[in-house]
């Protein structure tokens, strides 16, 4: 190191020491712990951050989504596999076309594919749809069960029964189909005493009334003939007394899985 460089470095060190002394040691004394004890404490945090929140087991959760853009459902997670259904973006009742999520998987094409229950005949059909054709996921922890033998609908939330009421179902000629479906829409404020004040659309379809307007989808709705309930009285729809359908409306989220057995 050259002499001038060493001199410069020494001067810098002396200057730095002087600055530190002036800054830290009031009255030219060495700082000690008492200086730091005198510092005011930090204010308490405005937020009370709790422990980390682990997810529940998800045992009672189910997921649903909607068709974002008209698309095809395939037999396998591949665009080259057989098309099992064409899916419109809207359901016949004018709401987005709801699909129950079953599983997701990466396809050979690198895209994400989702297996869903299809609202088509035969009831119980499933297919694979490209994730990019679907909308956001929603989850519910409810499950509606319609027991055709007992003529009763029961709603479960997180496995616990929260609603139960007698129902009317299809006659022997026009049976309410059995299987796994979903509640996909809610219609209200229409002028039709026959359907009562509230109607829920479902993904279940009558296997016999295929020429019914809009394809013969099964609804869950009120009635203007409550004295017929419980009974086998409908064309396949699930009828509840109006006071029961109003009670159910407050408890039943769209996307709830529907089991008809």
């Amino acid at each position: 190191m050259k002499r001038t460089t060493r001199l410069t470095a020494a001067l810098a060190a002396v200057t730095l020491a002087g600055l530190l002394s002036a800054g830290l040691g009031a009255g030219n004394r060495e700082p000690d712990a008492s200086d730091f004890r005198a510092l005011p404490p930090a204010p308490a945090s405005a937020l009370q951050i709790s422990r980390s929140q682990r997810l529940s087991s998800g045992r009672y959760l189910s997921r649903w989504t909607v068709v974002r853009a008209a698309t095809a459902a395939h037999a396998r997670p591949s665009a080259s596999s057989r098309v099992v259904a064409e899916l419109a973006a809207s359901a016949p009742e004018g709401t987005p076309n709801l699909l129950t999520f079953l599983q997701a998987r990466g396809g050979a094409d690198g895209a994400v594919w989702v297996e869903v229950r299809l609202p088509v005949l035969p009831n119980g059909s499933v297919g694979w749809v490209q994730r990019r054709s679907l909308g956001p996921y929603s989850t519910v922890d409810t499950h509606l069960v319609v027991d055709r033998a007992q003529l009763r609908a029961t709603l479960y939330r997180a496995g616990q029964g929260v609603f139960s009421a007698p129902v009317g179902i299809g006659t022997a000629a026009w049976p309410t189909p059995a299987g796994e479906f979903a509640v996909r829409s809610e219609l209200s404020r229409y002028a039709s005493p026959f359907y009562g004040p509230i109607s829920f659309g479902t993904t279940a379809r009558s296997a016999v009334l295929t020429d019914w307007p809009d394809g013969g989808f099964v609804g869950i709705h009120g009635t203007d003939e409550p004295w017929l309930l419980p009974g086998r009285v409908s064309h396949g729809c699930i009828r509840l007394r109006n006071r029961d359908i109003l009670r159910l409306e407050a408890l039943l989220p769209i996307g709830t899985p529907l089991t008809i057995r």
Binding site: L47, I49, Q53, S188, S199, F217
Partner: protein
């Protein structure tokens, strides 16, 4: 991978068919309304301008506004990790990180909700478009979201009026920075690149979030049409 150094570059790397770039361009020309500084293009806008209602005790309107902005980012992150964990598509160390970080983000959301009470903004509807269902896409998006959160907290901290809120924000900021480093390491990006990190303005954060198109309109599943069910 080390070349990917900031949120913009990461999101550009995620961009498929230039959809993100297009959305961003659209967002940049949109009038600047709302708490994030703009209406988010092509999506359900953040419901973030709400400042009315009962005040969070001892918190100024300015701080409530900033807290709701932070809450929305926490909603975004918490929902992202929750959906990823539920998807079951993640494996190994990535799955473990998603579990831990997701639990933390949910704790942040709970804390904000507790503080803000009735003044808290509602959770938007998120569509993560499959990024929660593929490990590589998950990590890339996680890095982007964490880096964004770190920059956003840094951008707002000097504007907070309450020291108590500032203490809380700084506490969360450092946790978000740890998350960012963790996700970066898992993704194969250098965890700490710069000697000094830059803050991000609210408008900038809003544009970036809009460009992801992760915030969408909630599907309208109710209608007034006359039923045509089988009856």
């Amino acid at each position: 991978m080390d070349g990917v150094r900031n949120v913009d570059e990461l999101l550009a790397a995620v961009d498929r068919d230039d959809a993100v770039a297009e959305a961003r361009a659209q967002a940049e020309t949109t009038s600047r309304q709302g708490l994030l500084g703009l209406t988010l293009a092509g999506a359900g806008a953040f419901v973030l301008t709400r400042v009315g209602g009962a005040a969070a005790a001892g918190v100024s309107a300015t701080d409530v506004n900033i807290l709701n902005y932070a809450l929305t980012l926490e909603y975004l992150q918490a929902s992202f990790y929750t959906e990823a964990e539920r998807s079951g598509a993640l494996a190994g160390k990535t799955a473990q990180a998603a579990r831990v970080v997701g639990a933390t983000e949910r704790a942040h959301v709970a804390a904000f909700l507790k503080l803000l009470g009735s003044k808290a903004v509602k959770r938007p509807t998120f569509d993560f478009q499959g990024t929660t269902e593929q490990q590589r896409a998950f990590l890339k998006t996680a890095v982007a979201l964490e880096d964004l959160a770190v920059a956003a907290y840094k951008g707002q901290a000097p504007k907070l009026q309450s020291n108590a809120v500032l203490v809380a924000a700084v506490g969360i900021h450092s946790v978000e920075a740890r998350h960012a480093a963790w996700m970066r390491a898992l993704f194969g990006v250098t965890p700490a690149v710069n000697a000094f990190d830059q803050p991000a303005s609210r408008a900038s954060v809003g544009r970036i979030v809009a460009s992801t198109q992760f915030i969408v309109d909630k599907p309208r599943m109710r209608a007034r049409n006359k039923p045509k069910f089988t009856g």
